[in-house]
């Protein structure tokens, strides 16, 4: 496509670098420095999308990140295959480059012909709140009809179809001063702030060129220089300073606590070369000493009938396209305005050869010098006129205007033919970031704007976002914010506007579609309806009508909506207030937020020293906390059930080997170690002999079971404490907390040794025979090394803390060795064990075996509300010790109630039926709903050793109900079961000490 609307000279584009991009399959031509929007306009078209609700044809409204209409799906590197397309890119800020593939959104079958446009005709149905009003009944229709239809129609743009193949980087930085925005205020601020070289200054701007509004300015001079030359000089000066970092293409999108500022830098999308490994975007997290917000302002549209027709754009944007991009938005332009700044657009348009008429809502006497200047330039100006409506559909063809009578009446209409409208309803300072910083806004009636008021963090606003619109004053304000001063002589800026919410019209307002929020298709009529229906809070009006809730966050629409609501309620605008500004300022890709934290780097997998061996043996794994643990070791042809049955049998008949390395391990050392243990655990430790082990129970201060584990006393002043796998960190921090904050007088150190020691459990009648040949310096005889004791010595020449303990009910050992030697020791034991058909077993078998013995697992039988007595462990609670953590809570009235849930066994009547863990236990399955619940199943397995299913449950008053019949819920209903003791497996002889 040629560029019939390209101006032959001027602008900040590089005519030596012609480029083309694909737009809906067609080719747009342009130059480096263009956006996709400016290339589309150069081709002579404004049509850039269909609106969200009514599917109305839409054009390009703005030249910046506030664009609500022209949202494109962009495939940034189509040549590299799928996955590099993302939706809802604003055409006005997509930096054009060869090879981009762009498509408009929200239409079918094509942008030009869209079936969805039917919604525009049916619009009386789609009034504010129509979701709430329309889809009420019948109830069943929700699931089958309404929701599927709404889901298909809702949302904007298509989600990517494959995982994002790009890399995203993440960077943390410190700045003494962060300047947001590189317009005249930001440049001036950065220059002042970096002047003495001592402060590290970051200057970030969302655009790809620095200069802000000065890039749109072809006529202003600063100290005698053209505005762009001044910008270039400022940028060169800043760039030469060692203490300044310039960050173009970097959007500051979030302002959080304590000057923590988040920004996203677009690193690769604009580059012609697709460098391998270069991150696509970089998330910056900056901690700034001070933030200078120089974010500029947003122009307001005028609200009149059909103000959304393609060809109608913001006045400053028309000026940007003419001056910065050297593109004429059209040949015949009407500038419709309620303020002075749009006159500059008219003058620049005329200079570019566009036929221009100005329609100004203000009376002539309310205008400034701009009026005379425009008329002097030969531009027809209609003052005191309103815009009744726009003509045309896919492109504006004319504007019906009429003079306003002194009493507010609308006079005789006149049609102004045109192909472009440049409109301006005044200016809204961009207070998003200030508001995010939790600063308080104050309303300034003189400029009809909310401005930064009281600061909460160390920041300052400068320039247009501070309500200052005159160029010289902006530059001075920026310098002041940067801690310096700068007086320049600059061209006078046309400032001032008359706030107008909805333009007066003599049409029936009920039939007029005048858009306030373009992106969410909210009209003035919708807002009026909401207020009529009783919505008065702006937060409610916003949610009911969805105004300001699109991805543009209402940058162009908020003030018109607020003003309209204030007018309808006849309240002053500050009494209405603003809605809350929240990050992000503009949409941020998930890729940038996630950064490198994906796939294997999302949550690191902790592997034990034995993991590689287990993998080689074909183990199936399961995650336990962050650990990866062997779940079971299937032989060929075995399913989990068969493998676990075999493993369980093997442990009880010969010997099993189990990797228990994930157990938490804490060394408690010091003269007061025993006293500390006395206070942290329910048990008494003073009398535990060196070399002895004891099962320890830990409570929270609320009296509920927190953790358990075997504790060994290695020396008078040294305990080796084990914890549950999942509780390791929690228990350590719990101990550390008490040690530091409650009992700093205790001379105790605690050290986590979870990672340092691997644990190999050998369990079963033959465990000792497998172990013995490798052990040295430990007397392995029964008398010298009984059950529940610990010895230090060597295994395979490696130092070991050898525990004689059992979590299976079989005689067994837990071999603690330094993790680096664990694999070698394991292999040696395994080879020796082959003589006894040694069987590696996983966590599932461990669970079944301990359940057969009635041993609890903290977190499975307990849920943070179980006391020691609830789970049958009151015998472990010292009655002698005056105090320990949780003791006082055990005598609270509710803890002593008789109807608390207690741990019992539950045996299904059908021994083959394995109950569901989590299933409810009830007494009467015919009781009316809500049925009284007696308890719940906590653990349930098939036990090959018992020859039937077994289960543990927490049942109200359960210990007094042994032998009673209860019912347990199943997916299909209920099944009958009997309450039993929770010990299911009985040894023929007392084997644990054998």
């Amino acid at each position: 496509m040629s560029q019939p609307f390209r101006i032959q000279s001027g602008g900040h584009i590089d005519r030596s670098k012609p480029i083309s991009v694909s737009f809906n399959g067609k080719t747009l031509n342009g130059y480096r420095g263009d956006t996709v929007a400016s290339m589309l306009l150069a081709s002579g078209s404004h049509l850039a999308g269909r609106s969200f609700k009514y599917h109305r044809p839409r054009g390009i409204l703005s030249h910046g990140s506030d664009e609500p209409n022209a949202l494109l799906s962009v495939d940034w590197r189509p040549e590299k295959g799928k996955g590099r397309r993302d939706p809802n890119n604003r055409a006005s800020v997509v930096e054009a480059r060869n090879g981009l593939k762009t498509e408009t959104q929200n239409h079918w079958p094509s942008l030009e012909r869209d079936v969805g446009a039917l919604n525009d005709i049916l619009s009386p149905v789609f009034v504010a709140g129509f979701y709430y009003k329309t889809f009420m009944w019948p109830r069943s229709a929700w699931e089958k009809v309404y929701e599927p239809v709404i889901r298909r129609a809702a949302g904007l743009g298509e989600a990517p179809e494959v995982a994002d193949p790009d890399r995203y980087a993440n960077r943390h930085a410190y700045a003494d001063i962060l300047v947001v925005g590189a317009g005249p205020a930001g440049l001036s601020a950065a220059l002042a702030a970096s002047e003495d070289g001592s402060s590290r200054v970051l200057l970030a701007d969302e655009g790809f060129l620095f200069g802000g509004a000065l890039l749109n300015d072809a006529t202003s001079t600063i100290d005698g220089k053209p505005a762009k030359a001044w910008v270039d000089e400022m940028v060169a000066t800043l760039d030469a300073r060692e203490n300044v970092v310039l960050l173009p293409r970097t959007t500051v999108f979030g302002y959080y606590n304590h000057n923590h500022v988040a920004m996203v830098e677009r690193v690769a999308d604009h580059r012609d070369d697709a460098l391998e490994g270069l991150a696509r975007e970089r998330l910056w997290q900056v901690r700034a000493g001070k933030v200078i917000i120089a974010a500029g302002s947003h122009e307001r549209p005028l609200v009149f009938e059909n103000n959304d027709r393609p060809g109608i754009m913001l006045a400053e944007s028309a000026r940007a396209f003419i001056n910065r991009y050297a593109v004429k938005p059209g040949n015949r332009m009407v500038v419709a305005t309620s303020g002075a700044s749009a006159y500059r657009t008219a003058l620049d348009a005329k200079a570019a050869g566009i036929a221009v008429t100005i329609v100004d809502i203000r009376l002539g006497e309310d205008c400034g010098t701009e009026l005379a200047e425009a008329r002097e330039a030969g531009i027809e100006v209609l003052t005191g006129h309103t815009v009744v409506k726009a003509l045309g559909k896919a492109r504006v063809t004319g504007l019906i205007v009429a003079p306003l009578g002194k009493t507010g009446g609308v006079g005789t209409r006149r049609t102004l033919e045109c192909d472009t409208v440049a409109m301006s309803g005044g200016w809204t300072p961009s207070v998003h970031l200030f508001s995010q910083s939790r600063g308080k806004l104050v309303f300034d009636a003189d400029i009809d704007a909310f401005l930064p008021g009281q600061s909460v963090q160390n920041e300052v606003s400068a320039g247009a976002c501070h309500g200052i619109y005159d160029l010289s004053a902006i530059i001075a304000d920026g310098a002041k914010a940067g801690g310096g001063s700068r007086e320049v002589t600059a061209s006078a800026t046309f400032t001032g506007f008359q706030p107008v919410r909805v333009l007066p019209t003599d049409e029936d307002p009920k039939k007029v579609k005048a858009f306030v929020d373009f992106q969410n298709d909210v009209t003035a009529k919708d807002i009026k309806l909401a207020v009529r229906e009783g919505f008065e809070s702006i937060e409610h009006v916003k949610r009911y009508t969805t105004t300001g809730m699109a991805t543009d966050q209402g940058k162009t629409s908020n003030m018109n909506a607020l003003g309209l609501v204030a007018g309808l309620l006849d309240r002053p605008l500050p009494a209405i207030g603003t809605t809350t500004f929240r990050p992000p300022y503009t949409p941020v890709t998930f890729g940038a937020l996630v950064g490198p934290s994906r796939e294997e780097r999302f949550e690191p997998v902790r592997k034990t020293a034995i993991d590689g061996w287990a993998e080689a043996q074909g183990a199936e794994f399961e995650p336990v906390g962050q650990w990866r643990r062997a779940h079971y070791f299937p032989r060929s042809g075995e399913d989990m059930h068969a493998a676990v049955n075999r493993e369980c049998k093997a442990v009880r008949t010969s010997v099993g080997i189990f990797d228990a390395s994930t157990l938490g391990k804490i060394e408690v050392v010091g003269p007061d170690a025993a006293e500390f243990m006395n206070r942290m655990y329910t048990n008494a430790w003073t009398k535990l002999k060196v070399g002895g082990c004891r099962y320890g129970l830990m409570l929270g201060e609320n009296g509920f079971v927190m953790d358990d584990g075997v504790v060994a006393r290695l020396a008078e002043d040294r305990f080796h404490v084990t914890t549950t796998t999942g509780g390791a960190a929690r228990v350590f921090q719990h101990m550390e907390d008490y040690l530091q904050t409650e009992w700093p007088d205790l001379d105790v150190f605690i050290t986590s040794i979870t990672e340092q020691y691997a644990v190999i459990a050998l369990q079963g009648p033959n465990a000792k025979k497998v172990l013995e040949p490798f052990v040295s310096d430990i007397d392995m005889s029964e008398d010298a090394f009984p059950h529940m004791s610990v010895r230090e010595g060597f295994i395979c020449g490696v130092p070991t803390r050898l525990f004689r303990v059992s979590f299976t009910g079989e005689a067994g050992f837990e071999v603690n060795v330094p993790a680096d030697y664990a694999a070698a020791v394991w292999k040696a034991l395994y080879e020796e064990g082959r003589k006894y058909d040694i069987t590696p077993y996983g966590t599932e078998t461990m669970h079944v075996l301990r359940c057969e013995m009635g041993f609890i697992i903290v977190g499975q039988e307990t849920d943070g509300t179980a006391t020691p007595d609830d789970v049958g462990l009151s015998g472990l609670v010292s009655k002698v010790k005056p105090d320990f953590v949780g003791k006082r809570s055990l005598s609270r009235p509710d803890i002593l109630r008789k109807d608390r849930k207690q741990l019992v066994g539950v045996l299904a009547k059908d021994p083959k039926e394995v109950l569901d863990e989590g299933a409810m236990v009830v007494d009467d399955p015919t009781a009316p709903v809500p049925m009284p619940i007696a308890g719940h199943v906590t653990s349930s397995y098939h036990s090959s050793n018992c020859g039937r299913s077994i289960a543990m449950a927490m049942v109200k008053g359960g210990r007094d109900r042994i032998g009673e019949t209860v019912w347990v819920t199943t997916p299909k209903g209920f099944t009958e079961a009997v309450i039993a003791t929770s010990v299911f497996y009985q040894h023929e002889k007392e084997s644990i000490d054998a």
């Binding site: 939790r438 921090q733 550390e736 005056p882 006082r888």
Partner: protein, 105 residues
């Protein structure tokens, strides 16, 4: 993300810390002597003020030490951090904005 000054290490980002709730609630010396109500108050009752709040923080992913911080719950401004065992500082000159004047975000 807050910026907290660990009394031992200096200023660090909040992600290095763990918050332990309200400070200056000492564990009773002899819990057995407390009646149920007094014990419940120790266990569960907290002041939850709008304004200055003394709270426990641990530099968990740093030195591991616990300390206290005086934080304005309205603005999140941290007026002061201090070592465990030190009394709550007098923050009458802390220049905390009046909660009534700062609209909660």
């Amino acid at each position: 993300m807050l910026l907290l000054e660990c009394p031992y290490c200096g200023k660090r980002a909040e992600s290095e810390f763990h918050c332990g709730g309200e400070a200056h609630i000492a564990r009773p010396e002899t819990p057995a002597e407390l009646d149920d109500q007094a014990w419940a108050e120790y266990l569960y009752y907290r002041t939850n003020p709008k304004g200055l709040h003394a709270e426990r923080w641990q530099h968990r992913h740093g030195c591991g030490r616990w300390f206290n911080a005086l934080r304005d719950t309205v603005s999140d401004k941290v007026v002061e951090t201090y070592k465990m065992g030190e009394p709550r500082p007098d923050a009458s000159n802390a220049n905390i904005p009046d909660p009534a004047k700062v609209r909660s975000a």
